[in-house]
């Protein structure tokens, strides 16, 4: 599983701009919001989207990500729901660790924009 987590994580890191938002709170919100929806889309085929524009934005990024990784990593389609969820939870954990917790970017924790 570690190799697959690494494969997905590396791809997301080189592709997705939402993880690089400028402040810690933006990064946390995006990683949480987008990957939660991506997990739902991967496991259930659909996800709840509320009326807010921000929730719709998370859905947009999640949908693009899911379509992309399903075509680039065919092995993902062969996993059951629990396996998909487990892998994506690990990817989320790793993204949070690299992009927020261990980030060397000193501007992440500035108080304003």
């Amino acid at each position: 599983m570690d190799d697959r987590v690494e494969e997905l994580y590396s791809y997301i890191q080189s592709r997705c701009l939402w993880q690089f938002f400028p402040r810690e709170w933006d990064r946390r919100a995006n990683i949480e919001g987008i990957l939660e929806k991506a997990i739902e889309l991967l496991t259930e085929g659909e996800c709840q989207v509320s009326e807010t524009l921000l929730d719709r934005y998370f859905y947009v990024e999640a949908k693009a990500l899911v379509i992309d990784v399903k075509s680039r990593f065919p092995w993902l389609n062969e996993l059951n729901k629990a396996e998909k969820r487990a892998i994506m939870e690990e990817v989320k954990k790793k993204l949070m660790e690299v992009m927020v917790v261990k980030s060397l970017n000193p501007e992440l924790r500035l108080s304003g924009y």
Binding site: F20, Y57, A64, L104, N105, Y113
Partner: protein
């Protein structure tokens, strides 16, 4: 390999933390070059000043307002006419700039009267223009001229004009980046929310951080129009002063240059709940992804797919022709900040090129997080690079072509290495499907030009130096 110290930097070893070569197994929590900090004394920086970032990059692109520079005349000239941002207002913003032309006596006795006179003269000279941006500069900031007070006085006297004041002198930050920041925040604070735009579509966006270089913005506006999407604020390429005051009415912020304009997108999200969608508009794969996301946001995916299919059919064969000839070529990207990470994967994945060195003048740490995450191992990453470092990089990586600015460009041309203008986009536009073909064409023409061989010939010698 961790940070590297170039031979030319042995006398300024602090430069080491700004220069990095990515090695196997390393990522952005292993090493991250220092960025957006003061230039180290002794290094020949190529950065601009904070005022330049506000005027030349952001404010100067707005098409329907007078640009008034309160300072010595050189501050106006040196931020005028060097940026190729077009507009559909007969390029008013490219043709005209005003200065208070401050001289010694004004510095001694104060420049506020002179500013007021200049503002009124300018409005009289361009009677069809009722909007103005006034910029403070180093000299007038140091003597404490209150440009806001003068602007309010003139607004009251003339009645039908609106003036935005940018208080960002050249010394305000470590580079032009501070000027981007100040303009964003001041516009948000002083102007957004003042106008209510006429809404003609249920699908409304702001295009943020796009400056219509060589018509890039026209391409983006055309895509939006074909999808039935209304662009309210175009911040700031081909941008309209009053529409930019109505940015709060958009449902989505489409962000292109996150470095120069991410700030206003963040504030629009924080204050008005408008989401920020960052896209890469260079490269077929990336622009298609961006358009699909915008389409999904508004539930008009079919329109996005139609546009993508039409554009791909039209431009793909041309791109493929260039790809065959560019594959394997080594390229350096030495530009301002975000183009490093916007371009690297598009060049590598879609044209088969190898990006061997990247340098930015005013990038922040997050620009390096993106560039290193997208760049390959063995590539050199430099913050605030200087000419002597570039000589060493060229010696080491032997690039086939370099995307950079005119100053470094003239330097590398003397070494007989093809250079393309990464800021002004040579024969752009470069955005979108069409634009990426232009980019490939420019690189092909530069690399395969016979000029480089001819330039090496010494016509004083009978054998022409061969």
């Amino acid at each position: 390999m961790p940070f590297v110290l170039f031979r030319c930097d042995e006398v300024i070893p602090e430069r080491e933390k700004h220069c990095y070569v990515k090695s196997p197994g390393e990522d952005i929590v292993t090493y991250l070059p220092a960025a957006n900090i003061a230039t180290i004394p002794g290094t020949l920086t190529e950065r601009g000043c904070a005022y330049c970032g506000a005027k030349l990059v952001i404010g100067g692109a707005i098409k329907d307002c007078i640009q008034m520079i309160h300072g010595p005349v050189g501050c106006a000239y040196n931020t005028w006419h060097t940026k190729r941002y077009l507009s559909d207002n007969n390029d008013f913003q490219l043709k005209h700039v005003c200065s208070t032309d401050m001289k010694e006596s004004h510095i001694v006795f104060g420049g506020m009267d002179r500013l007021k006179k200049s503002i009124k003269e300018a409005f009289a000279a361009y009677p069809e223009i009722k909007r103005m941006i006034v910029y403070i500069t180093c000299a007038t900031a140091l003597i404490g001229d209150d440009i806001d007070a003068i602007a309010r006085e003139v607004e009251e006297e003339l009645g039908d004009v609106d003036i935005f004041c940018v208080k960002c002198p050249g010394f305000a930050g470590v580079s032009q980046s501070k000027g981007h920041h100040e303009f964003n925040m001041e516009w948000m604070r002083d102007k957004v929310g003042e106008c209510e735009p006429e809404i003609w579509s249920p699908y409304t966006v702001n295009i943020i951080g796009e400056y219509n270089i060589q018509g890039d913005g026209f391409i983006m506006e055309n895509y939006m129009k074909r999808m039935g999407i209304q662009v309210i604020g175009h911040f700031t390429g081909n941008g309209s002063y009053d529409l930019l005051r109505g940015m709060h009415r958009a449902k989505l912020n489409v962000v292109i240059c996150a470095r120069s304009a991410g700030y206003i997108a963040n504030e629009l999200k924080r204050r008005y709940g408008i989401p920020r969608l960052d896209i890469d508009p260079w490269g077929f794969d990336y622009i298609a992804e961006g358009l699909r996301k915008i389409g999904t946001f508004f539930g008009i995916e079919d329109r996005a797919e139609k546009l993508i299919a039409e554009e791909t059919a039209k431009w793909r064969p041309k791109l493929d022709w260039y790809k065959e000839r560019l594959a394997g070529k080594k390229i350096c990207i030495w530009t301002g900040g975000p183009r490093l990470w916007h371009w690297v994967k598009a060049f590598e994945d879609e044209l088969g090129m190898r990006v061997v060195a990247m340098s930015c003048k005013f990038g922040h740490p997050d620009d390096f997080e993106k560039a290193i995450s997208r760049g390959r191992e063995g590539t050199i990453y430099i913050d605030d690079g200087n000419e002597l470092e570039f000589f060493e990089v060229i010696e080491k990586v032997k690039p086939d072509i370099i995307y950079t600015g005119p100053r470094v460009g003239d330097l590398v041309k003397k070494l007989h290495i093809p250079y393309l203008d990464g800021h002004g986009e040579h024969n752009g536009p470069y955005m979108g499907f069409e634009g990426f073909v232009h980019m490939a064409r420019d690189m092909y023409n530069a690399i395969y030009s016979k000029l480089w061989q001819l330039a090496k010939e010494d016509i004083r010698r009978k054998d022409n130096g061969r």
